[in-house]
Symmetry: none
Subunit: 204 residues, 4 copies
DNA sequence: GATGAATGAGTATTCATTCAT
DNA sequence: GATGAATGAATACTCATTCAT
């Protein structure tokens, strides 16, 4: 890493926080440089434009997501557990506690949209490998694995990352996952125990 | 309808088109009133703010969507066909030809997000009734119908309304739908013939 | 009073309250008609313009002020007491309890300015008569009565109607009044007992 | 003074003139930048808002007023002459010929109000020192000097800065000033000779 | 007497970006 | 590498007033 890169990384970190908490569109370049204590010129020395900075912030998020996924894959846990681990890691809030659910707030529609799209693209092959492992082990039985994985990711994002969900949502999700992957009934039911009850419908 | 309401409806229609083609955020009030040939004051006489106008535009879309869904339900077609018809109607482009896919373009993330959310909420009970009908007829066999419906809507939106999709996506979707609803293999395979091939991967 | 005059009087009353509490410039015609439950056209049927309405509101205030002053003059109290009574009545808050000091708030600079000017013009001759009465009785001894009265009104407005004042301000005011009118030391010292202590410096 | 400060000072000077001649509220930001030949952004780079600019303009006026007062205090003239000099300097028009009485025109109520308030606060201690000097010299004899000073300022502003005044107003003002400060009859009568007759009642 | 839809000039403010130093 | 003064197009919204019905 070059010398000037260090400051750039700091800037990305600051912007990442601000975009997440206030939304990309509600965060002005002025606010970023004020928080970073740098001059306007310095900002534009490092980034061509605000939008390009957003891309870099997102890349940073995606990279860290891939990292996490790879770590999970390398763990000594069962295939179903790896799947659930990777899906759960899509939610940044699981990792970064102080920032709570903000990526999924209305002010963050644009950023969520971009992240979600790339995340699905990037996680699909990784998760596909895991599923294939499961197929090889005889736990799953299915074809068109990448397409099934994509669907899995779409559903989990749509179900758990927006608004609230109920116990029934979980049970249907488990049922669907098993059938989608051609697993035996009950294979994925351990999911239920992992869910953060505080986010469930009716919870305060 | 009161007298003043007529002009308001015209305005909503114009804004609906503009929001859809250029995106909500990229459409300025100035552009709307210029197209509508009215004065600034007239605009603000009818709408408290641009955002409130967006809400009304969305309400209009939702209302028309409900109307369409109800018509489909009333038709003399099979239950699986009703389901597919309602799901397909979520895409406004099927109805309004001139506006092509724009609701799902990047500039329309915000609007798509809002519409999608409400659409799912509003279509879920309607579609649930249809599924129940199918259960009663013995075509389907499942519990937690509303949750399954919601998942169906999330998937179809995520799969077909964003970016491109392949034949494999369709076949997985059909498989998943059948299993999600507890239908016999092949029940939904007629879907494949309905898909607009021009939107498929590889197609221009 | 004509029939239509009744509604006009109601409107003036409503506007008077609004102007006083929110300031003339911060009160829009829309807000007035909404509170009065009338149409725009009706408003402009009764008033040529918003500014002309302000004049009428001020006239209303001045008229009521004159009325009060005349009543005080007619009372069976001493000349010094009449003087103080009239001066005190300049503050609308003494009469209209719910509206507290608002005429002298920053948002009401314009209205205060206009009222103050007219009030001084209108009260000067009335108060001059009272002073003359005092001269005739031998309590006061001075020439140029109207000019002295005007000065008295300017001081009392500037001292008591804006911001806070202290006991020393009162004692200087009393001293000055006595000397300005050529009264014996102690003639006006009863004023001190009448002052609303709650408005004094240091008071909560 | 930093480099960027120079342009800011120019802007303040321009705004000062415009606020004075046309009134604060009647001067738009557009007009200011057009006269200053700068871009909108430049204006908002230097000032947070139009209102904040007004505060800075007023501060500038107050500062120059204090400067003038201090110069007068340092002069080799009699105490009564110092007093009159300071009071007279409250009127900016005495100093800045091109701007004629505008601060006291109806369109300037707001600005006059703000200036007047601060001016009284700022001049009171300065003038009090002068009075104390006079007391020490045996010319005046009084207590509660700051309160008397404040009253003096209120009266002179109310009498000479608004509308017209007559010879009688002057003579009453002189009489009152002498008595307020406990001076011998005739001490302040030189004032009469200093008054600009062109502003007196009857004069055009 | 009363209505309310229509007007349109006017206003302050935002903000990503540039560039000479 | 870094600065910060300058840019100017863009934007949403206000509000007193008019007038046909």
């Amino acid at each position: 890493m070059k010398k000037g890169e260090k400051r750039k990384q700091e800037l990305l970190k600051i912007a990442y926080d601000m975009f997440l908490t206030r939304g990309y569109e509600n965060t002005s370049v002025d606010e970023i440089i004020e928080k970073a204590q740098i001059a306007k010129g310095t900002y534009y020395y490092h980034f061509q434009s605000k939008e390009q900075m957003l891309e870099e912030v997102i890349d940073m998020m995606i990279d860290s997501e891939i990292e996490t996924a790879k770590q999970i894959i390398g763990m000594d846990i069962s295939v179903p557990q790896k799947i659930v681990g990777i899906i759960a890691s899509m939610k940044p809030t699981e990792v970064e506690q102080p920032i709570k659910d903000t990526l999924f707030q209305p002010e963050n529609v644009l950023m969520h949209h971009k992240v979600r799209k790339q995340l699905i693209d990037v996680l699909t092959p990784l998760l596909s490998e895991v599923i294939q492992e499961g197929v090889d082990e005889g736990i799953f039985e299915c074809d068109n694995i990448p397409e099934r994985v994509k669907m899995l990711l779409i559903i989990s994002d749509g179900t758990f990352n927006e608004g609230t969900f109920s116990e029934r949502d979980i049970s249907v999700f488990i049922d669907m996952t098993e059938k989608l992957l051609g697993a035996e009934n009950g294979t994925m039911s351990f999911i239920y125990d992992l869910i953060d009850k505080s986010e469930m419908e009716g919870a305060q």
